[in-house]
Amino acid sequence: MKRGPIMRSEALHPGRVLAVARNTFREAVRNRAFLGLLLFSVAFILSSILLSALAVVGEGARVVVDFGFFAVALFAVATAIVMGALLVYKELEKKTIYTIVSKPIHRYEFILGKYLGLLTILVAQVVALGVIWALVILTRDGTVTFEHAKGMLLVVMEVGLIAAVAMMFSAASNPMLTGLFTFGLFIVGRLVYLIEEMLQAPKGLFVDNPVARAFGEVVVAVFPDLSVFDVSQQVLLGVPVAPSYLLHAFVYASAYALFFLVVALFAFERRDFT
């Protein structure tokens, strides 16, 4: 079929996606609230030095390692939920979307760019906090190994998945609901392994009550098991994280993230920007 030069730019264009992503990152870097949160989380991790001083002799480094895992994941998850909930909403609320979607950009390119920008922010955050954490471990005479880095990599995968969930909800609802749903999914996701254990137990609620059992089975089947991404105990015990495990976790996180993003794209594609 013969078409004019207008056909150009019908396909996905990485330049446009990157432009949106870069701008999303720049927004965070210039946002005082975000920088404040970053400073606070650094202070939080540093405070584990004090905490470790209270520990039994010889256990100081362990406390720092455990606490650091918890703190980095906590702040990264909080950032993923809050930013994910606000990113798209702010564009609609502040009407900045009008001058963007009216440019020759696909709506899905915009959402992808937003997600990519958020992912970059989260990676930068985890890396920055991870470095601080490593320094704290060293000051407590602990050793930092490649296993710690693997642990951080898994945190990135987890928050990447959560950010996609937030994007999905925010493409279709408001930040309050998005925050609530995403946080709920995070909590349930972290508890899925418990439900799974209860389902396999010889007795208990999930055995006695068929309705509860069906419910539990649905939750386990549908929700992502986020405990996959928490290897803090393993690292503490000195058990190495196998590369195959990392790969498995990556595929697991990517599959879920992709699904949530696709739903977000469809929801966004159908929207009227009134």
Partner: protein, 325 residues
Amino acid sequence: MSEAGSEAGSGPAPRKVPVLAFEKLSKEFKLGLRLRRVQAVRDVDLEVQQGEIFGYLGPNGAGKTTSMKMAMGLIRPTGGRALIFGESVERPAVRRRVGYLPEHPYFYDYLTGFEILDFYGQLYEMPKKKRHARVDELLTIVGLDHARDRTLRRFSKGMLQRIGIAQAILNDPDLVVLDEPMSGLDPMGRKEVRDIILALKEQGKTVFFSSHILHDIETICDRVAIIINGRVERMGSLGELLTGNAGLVEVVATGASPELLARLEGDGFTAAVAGHGHRLVVEEGGLDPVLRALLDGGATITHVEPMRESLEELFVREAGAHHAE
């Protein structure tokens, strides 16, 4: 469906494809929890030809912004369609040839004047060097050179409107869609926007812009459409449309003596006090005798102008007609 544009020329009689066309364009919103139906735009048919400055006039809430957003693909019509160069606006590539200024535009306020335009330039896939040169050129055109490196947070409303215009012409578009481009501007700003629109026309561009203020439109538009309650009620040149008081002429004179006024009154002309003088409304045919009488009577004529219905009067008349239906 979108072949109209590309097929032109192969047919026997190449029909000129309008730059912008609404075909039975309609939008129904469902509002609130009870999904109350509101018909914002009803069966609007409209064609804007190449090189025209087309004014889209109507009171607030008439459906101007909604139809313009449908033209830009921001809102999906519930009936009919909007075409740009004969193509569906849903296709991003079509928007490559269009510039759009939304009503009360908002921008990323953490970016500087340069950065925001540079960002939009990236969405047009402009190469860096060309983009930077174009952004600097635009900042000069809209008079924001001094604010190049200032964040938009510290821009005044008028300056933001200028950024809005700059981003609307960034890609050197063939069609420029401007939603209330002069709202919120001071008289100087209004004049500058008018000048920019006229300059675009000189370059052969097509401009489609909306306003609820007649004065913004009357001096520069080739044609206008008047939209009321979501329906286009009139379309044509302003002269054709504002015909409510056709044939009447307004005359203002100072220094008319009471005797003169009494004599005119005797002839059936009533003079009302207006400022320092008197104001008479005369039929076009009877103008000469009145003017002669005024001059002979020693009065000074300060103002003679054919009366035209104001847009407000037209709105009221059209809206009134609707109620009567």
